[in-house]
Every structure is written in C-alpha cells, then in structure tokens.
C-alpha cells in the first residue's frame, strides 16, 4: 500500500489491483474485516441449524426431524431424520465450537477489530498488513478443517465443546476417530489466526495512533478490542498447546490426559479453562465496547465515567486469569482451591457492575434516539445484567454443587454470549454498515428483526433457568429417560418452538443484509421482502395461538385453534407487510458520510473509506470521543478533529 495511490484514487481505489488482490488476498484492513464478517455469518447459519436439530430432539425425542426425513437409513448420524445419540452429542459439541470460534470471535474480534482500530485511531491501516491477511486465511483454513470433520467416518467431535479428557483423547471411549482429531487440529490452527490478529492490534494501537489521540481519547470500543487482544495474545497459545497435546494423545499415543496409562485428566480441564476463562472475556469485552460506543451516540451525551469504564476493563482483564477454577468446583480438584476461586470469581463481578451502572448513567439525562443499533445496545445492557446476575449462583461454589452442569449454566452463558455478544454484534453491524459498505441497512426491517429476536431470545433462554433449577442436566439426549424431569417436558417443547421462531426471526436480517450489500431495490424484491417478513411473523403468530389453545403437548390444533390461529396469522402478516411497505427506505441507497452524527474518527473518513482511510493528511485529534451536546456549540456533536472550548477540555478526555 503506497499512500500516493491511496490519495490519487480516493474512494474507487479498491477497484484497482484486480479481483484477487482486492477481494481475496487483500491487505486492506477494511476488506479483511468484511471477509471475517462473511466467514462469521456463514458459520452462524451452520451453528444455528445444529442447535435447531438438537432442540428438536429435546422437545420430541426420537422422532423424525422435520425436513430431514429424506436422509437414507444407512446414515450414521440421522437415519431417516432420526437423531442418534452420537449425532446429538456431536451437534451439541459443534454448535458451541462453531459459535464460539467461528462466529463470535471472527465477527467481534476479527471483523470489528480490523475495521475499527485503524479507522478510529486515525491510522491508514494495520501495522502488519500481510500478517493481517494471513490471520484471515489461517482462520479460513481452520474453518475448512473444522467443517471437514463433519464428513469423516465416525462423525465429528462429540465430547462437548470443552472436550473433557479422556473421553476426547481415547477414541475407544467415544467411538469418534478422525473427527475429534480434526477438531483439535482446527483449534490449534485457529489459535494462530487469533494470535496474529492480537499482535497486529496491539502494535497498531501502541504505535499508530494519530496526533492528539492520547490513550484517554481512544474510543471505548477500541479500548475493549485492545484489552481483548492482550487476552488473546496470552490465552490462545494455551489453547494451541492443549490442542496439540490432545492430538499427540490421539495420534502418537502419548498419555498426557489418559489416567489408564498414568496421565492426568484434570490437567486438560486446567489448561482448557485457563485459556477458557480469558476466552469468555474475549467474547464479551468487544460487546461491552460496542455498547459503550453506541450508547453515547444515540443518547447524544458523553459516556458516563469514561475512565471508570477503562479501569473496569483492565480489572476484568487481570482478574480473568485467576478465576478459571470456578468451572471446576465439582471436578474433584482440592476443595480448598474451590474456596479461593469462589472469592476471585465474586470479585470479578464488581467491575462488571461498575460498567452496568455507568451505562445506566449514560442513559440518565440523555436525548435517546431509538434507532436499530440503539435498540440492540439497550437489549445488550439488560440481557447482560440478567446473564451477570445468574452468574452469582454458579460463582457460589455451594449453590454450584447443585446447579453445575444443568440448564442453569446453559441459560447463563447464552444470556452473556447471545444476549450480550450477539446483540452487540447485530447492533454494531447496523451501526457501522454505512462505513463498511457505503450503504445503510434498512431501519424498518431492522426493527422487525430486532423485536422478533429479542422476544424469542428470551423465550428460548429464560425458561432454561427454570429447567436448571429443576435439575435438568445439560447435554442429555432424551430428558424423558428421567422420572424427575418428565413434569418439565412442556418447558422443553416451548423452548424448542421458540428456538424455531428465533431461527425464522433471522430471515428479515438476511433480506436486509443482502438487499443493502447488493442494492436489490427492484419493486418485486421489495414486495418479496415485505411478504416473507410478514409471513414469518404471521406463521409464528399462528403457532403461538394454536399453542395457547391446545397446550404445548398437543401436536395437532383443533378447529377452534385453527380458526383463531388463522385470524392471528392474517392480521400479523398484513400488519408487518403494510408496516414495511410504508416504512422501508430505498434498499441499498448510498449512505451519507456520517449518518448518525457521531464524533469518532471513522466518520471523518470518506464513505466508503478508501485504501489508506483518510485524505492526504491524517486527522489530528483535539477532543475526546464522546463530546456530545457540549454547551455553547451549535450542533450536538462535532468530530474529534475539532477544537473544544478549553473550559471543557479537562473534563472530557
């Protein structure tokens, strides 16, 4: 990348160097960010489908999964659409593995990290563009290896995403051969991808902040990505090593983890969680950063307690290294260690609480604009609160004796990773889409998607707390095999129905995303979008009415249920169709340079940002990132490059 080329060609530069160097082996951080986004979104479909398959099995055990009856009865996994126990274990394992390593990490860290860091600190690109490109293609390699596991004999890894040894390391115990090895190999490869990304982010941030961009003028989302990168730098090598040891155990018959030959199974757990707990914060910190970024923009108000937010993140980053044992309270490790980990774990709740209160403080006295990104940020805050509070139960090692390995923990981490990270992810996509693709995603479609996702997210995951309190173990194939769980089966059915609705709820997002990226605004396509979104809502309404009429355990609706359902169906379909007809803007229209009136530097760059990001000279920063509604200024925002009344300069950094 030479700066003269960047300047001369401006916005059209990315059409320069031919297809391969522009779209495939690009060195441009913005293209790499988009590549990570595509990778993550594609894998999200795979991860989501796996979840729906095992949810089906949990609600209606050992029945044919709808839509999969065509599979041959010779199939190992789903003969004629029936889920076998090993396939179930595999689906559970791979749902988690894919969502964590190939959806949330590529999008939150890979996409937003790449896209935002250089633009928001006023740099022309990452410090090491080639390393950056490698980081993406190594992630693709990891994804290919991970996907290949589905097609090998014996099926993919089926020992849980935590891969507890020796189930995962001795093939005879699980009946899984190549799959588990590919799983470990893929994680080994992916750890390198993250490592390359981390090194790049850290170097870029330390060395390439533009003039005036002091540490305390760095936007919070960049701070969060910086802290994430440090955690990644230190945590991913542990995953890589553990993965390598698993491969050695499986392929070269070493016995790190096999007690039958003198190994130590708890060593795997210690390694996995020593990586795994910082990993949890790798998944949530960028989400916190995005929320901290969106709230001030849409409240038109400085973030409350900027420095407290930064210190809280640093505290979380430090503490995340000394809490891993809370995953192992019941593992058989010395109970005295359990005491120590209980204490550190409850201490890590404090910085999270500080962040929450500061988000509330930001709302206080604001002038709140309820755009789609803001709705997601608000959902993030309240869902993160639920996820954080439910963590208190498990943090208490005494309560954990009972709650451990039940659906309570499943509810807890989905509130954090889906309610937190994924809502932030959707909000972030819609917020930065104009800068990323030069077009704005549609607000009306976005609202339909948001409300459906918000409602059905809660209907899927809230009842899991109740299942957990009832003692429902996680990762069991058939709850009806247990007498004490039978009374709760209607809850399982409700969760599965809601999960199917949650899956359907993503359709408006898919339409919104593709229509905007590819500028599909033909009349027929708009009608199709309205009709499909309407039908999704109508269909969900029909089923909900039928369930209210018949109860959860009745498979067929009676005439009464059908009539009411049909009325609801028609009403909802028409309502959504007409709402969209009235409110949908032209899909894929060019976005203005700064559609949200935001201060940070990415909005100073032209839209779409050219190679090299900024014009001939780099912007010089003269104020903090969140100086909204400054008294005496005519607009309620001003770019960070503008000088601020010295009276306010001290307060706002």
């Amino acid at each position: 990348m030479s700066e003269t080329t960047a300047d001369a060609h401006g916005a059209h530069d990315h059409h320069e160097g031919g297809f391969w160097s522009t779209y495939v082996f690009s060195l441009d951080h913005k293209m790499i960010a988009r590549q990570f986004l595509w990778l993550g979104l594609i894998m999200m479909v795979v991860g989501g489908m796996l979840a729906l398959i095992f949810r089906w099995q949990l609600a209606w055990p050992e029945t044919q999964v709808w839509g999969f009856e065509w599979i041959s009865d010779e199939s190992e996994g789903m003969p004629e659409g029936y889920v076998t126990p090993n396939f179930y274990n595999m689906a559970v394992t791979m749902h988690a593995t894919i969502m964590v390593f190939l959806v949330v990490m590529p999008i939150l860290v890979g996409c937003f990290g790449n896209f935002l860091i250089p633009l928001m600190i006023g740099a022309r690109d990452m410090a090491f563009p080639v390393l950056n490109m490698l980081s993406f293609w190594v992630a693709v390699l990891g994804a290919v290896i991970m996907t290949a596991g589905f097609f090998v004999e014996g099926g993919h890894a089926a020992a849980g995403w935590t891969g507890y040894a020796p189930l995962s390391t001795v093939p005879e115990y699980s009946g899984v051969f190549m799959g588990q090895t590919l799983w470990a190999l893929s994680l080994f490869v992916l750890s390198f991808s993250s490592l390359m990304g981390s090194i790049n982010y850290i170097t870029t941030l330390i060395n390439m902040r533009t003039e005036g961009m002091t540490w305390f003028r760095v936007p919070l989302v960049v701070w969060s990505l910086f802290v994430t990168a440090i955690l990644g730098l230190l945590a991913l090598p542990i995953l890589g090593s553990a993965g390598a040891m698993m491969i050695f155990d499986r392929v070269f018959e070493t016995n790190f983890f096999n007690p039958a030959k003198g190994g130590e199974p708890l060593l795997w757990q210690h390694l996995f969680w020593y990586f795994g707990h910082p990993e949890v914060y790798i998944l949530i910190l960028p989400g916190m950063g995005i929320a901290s970024e969106l709230l001030p923009v849409y409240c038109r108000k400085p973030i409350f307690g900027y420095r407290a937010m930064v210190y809280a993140m640093l505290a979380i980053a430090f503490l995340s290294w000394i809490v891993w044992g809370h995953h192992m309270f019941q593992s058989g490790m010395n109970p005295a260690l359990g005491s120590a980990f209980m204490m550190t774990t409850l201490v890590i709740a404090i910085p999270s609480a500080i962040k929450t209160f500061n988000w509330l403080g930001t709302l206080w006295g604001g002038s709140i604009r309820f755009t789609v990104p803001m709705l997601h940020a608000l959902a993030f805050v309240i869902l993160f609160v639920i996820g954080g509070l439910s963590g208190i139960f498990m943090a208490s090692n005494v309560v954990d004796i009972y709650i451990h390995d039940t659906y309570f923990i499943v509810a807890h981490f989905h509130y954090v990773i889906f309610g937190g990270s994924v809502f932030a992810l959707f909000g972030g996509i819609q917020h930065w889409f104009p800068k990323m693709f030069g077009r704005s995603m549609d607000e009306a479609l976005g609202k339909v998607h948001f409300w459906l996702t918000f409602i059905f997210f809660n209907m899927v995951f809230f009842p899991m707390h109740i299942l957990g309190v009832g003692g429902h173990m996680r990762r069991i194939y058939n709850p009806l095999q247990y007498e004490f769980l039978q009374g709760m089966q209607p809850i399982n059915v409700m969760i599965t129905l809601s999960a199917l609705a949650l899956g359907l709820s993503q359709i408006p997002f898919v339409f919104n995303f593709f229509a905007t990226v590819f500028r599909w605004n033909a009349k027929w396509f708009r009608v199709l979008t309205q009709a499909v979104s309407g039908l999704v809502v109508g269909f969900i309404g029909y089923k909900s009415a039928a369930v209210m009429f018949e109860g959860l355990m009745e498979p067929e609706a009676s005439t009464g249920g059908r009539i009411v359902g049909t009325i609801v169906f028609v009403a909802l379909t028409v309502w959504i169709y007409r709402y969209l007809e009235k409110n949908m803007a032209p899909l894929g229209a060019d976005a203005p340079q700064n559609p949200w009136d935001a201060n940070t530097l990415e909005w100073v760059a032209p839209t779409p940002a050219p190679h090299g990001n900024f014009g001939p000279t780099l912007p010089v920063v003269r104020r903090g990132p969140y100086e909204y509604s400054v008294p005496g200024e005519s607009a309620d925002w001003a770019p960070q490059t503008e000088a601020i009344d010295p009276k306010y300069a001290e307060a706002g950094h």
Binding site: T84, N89, A159, Y164, A165, P166, L167, V170, Y173, G175, P259, A260, P265, K301, P302, F304, G305, A308, Q330, S331, G332, G338, M342, L346, I350, A353, F357, N358, L360, L363, G365, G366, I368, R369, V385, L389, I392, F393, N397, V398, V399, I401, Y402, I403, D405, I466, V469, G470, G471, M473, R475, Y477, N478, Q481, Y482, F484, S629, P631, D636, Y648
Partner: protein, 222 residues
C-alpha cells in the same frame, strides 16, 4: 422459581437451598432496581424536540458508591458461601455410619457395599449395578471412583453432585432425611450412552434397610 426446585431430602441440601434463596432474592432485587431505573430513563429521556442532553462526564461520588456497595454485599456473600463450603466439603467425616464405593463405568454406576466386616475388597462385598441402598437419617460416605471417562454423580433431590474422575478416589458424604426412591443421573457428558446413565437411589427406613441387607447378602450367597 423456588417451586421448581425438587423437594430436598438431605441435611446438606438445606445448606445449599439456603444459599440458593439468598442468591435468588439478591439477584431479583438488583435486577428489578436496574430494570426499573433503565425503563424510567428510556421513557423519560427519549429524544424530544428542543430538549438537549445533559453534558456530564460522570460523578466520582457515584463511582465510589457503586463500587463499594456491591463489594460489601459480595464480601458478605463470600463469607456465607465459604462457611457453608467448609462445612460441606472440607470437614471429611471420620466415622461415617454407612460406607459405599461407587464406580462410574460407561454407562453404569457400579455400587460396592462392604459386608459385615466393614471392609472393601473382601469376599463378603456385595456389588450391584445402578442401585444405591442407604438407611434414612444416617450419614452416607461414598468413595467415588472412575473406570474409564469422567462421569458426574448427581442426586438432584439431595442436591449432591460430584464429578467422578478415573485414577482418583473422591469422597462425597451426605445425610438423606426422607425415605423413598430417587434417581442418580450422570451429569457429565460421558459418551453416546450418557443420556440414560441413571441409577436408583433408595433410602430405606432403619428396619427396611436391615431387611434389605439380609436379603441381598442371602441372594448373593446363593
């Protein structure tokens, strides 16, 4: 939410349920406070023409308050938890009334009862698959062993759970207080037969327990 907890049948379970309730009330109250504040702010501070947002960067007194108050509450919670944990996990009983050895083996619980000599590994041991018989109101001491992969011994009604790790013997003890038949599901993914790995946990009255022992050993000697 509490009505979803299965009935508790052990002395240790009371301890666990108590802390569960504390966590429950604590978190529900905090959640309501946060949700109400948030809802109020969202409605009150929605954008309206002519109304500008407040220009403020925060408040140090508030920062200190909302750091110190949660810290204090959590410290109390830590102390309460630690007291219970020490009672439940650190004070290994010296003279338990009933000793059993349970081995997790894909996909069964193998239960070994000592004979009248009270010792394991002698000829008069009784070995049953998936059936744990104990007398009511007596402390039961279980030595948990693993034969292959990691399992987790779970009696939901007694609130007891402990992972079973091959290569180790892990002690677990509790005192059941109610006669009845319960289940011992495995709570840690242990392979394709994990689901359905389920034992019977039978709590006998004192007399029934004596009768059961007599009958069981008689059948064994046959």
């Amino acid at each position: 939410m509490m009505s979803w907890l299965p009935e508790n049948i052990s002395i240790e379970g009371e301890e666990i349920d108590f802390l569960f309730y504390i966590s429950y009330y604590l978190t529900v109250v905090v959640f309501i406070l946060v949700a109400v504040a948030m809802g109020y702010f969202i409605i009150k501070y929605r954008a309206r023409p002519g109304v500008k947002a407040k220009y403020t960067h925060g408040n140090n007194v508030l920062e200190i308050l909302w750091t110190v108050i949660p810290t204090f509450i959590l410290l109390v919670f830590i102390l309460m938890t630690q007291t219970s944990w020490a009672k439940l996990k650190l004070a290994i009983p010296q003279n338990p009334r009933v000793r059993v050895e349970v081995t997790g083996k894909q996909f069964n619980w193998i239960v070994r009862y000592p004979g009248d000599d009270g010792k394991f590994g002698t000829k008069d041991d009784l070995v049953l698959d998936n059936q744990l018989n104990v007398p009511v109101n007596k402390q039961v001491f279980i030595a948990l062993k693993g034969a292959d992969v990691i399992h987790s011994f779970f009696v939901p009604q007694a609130r007891m759970k402990q992972d079973v790790v091959p290569g180790r013997t892990i002690p677990l003890w509790f005192t059941p207080t109610k006669v009845g038949k319960y289940e011992i599901p495995c709570a840690e993914l242990c392979g394709f037969g994990h689901s359905g790995m389920n034992g019977e946990f039978i709590v006998h009255s004192e007399e029934d327990y004596a009768k059961w022992r007599k009958k069981a050993w008689a059948e064994k000697d046959k």
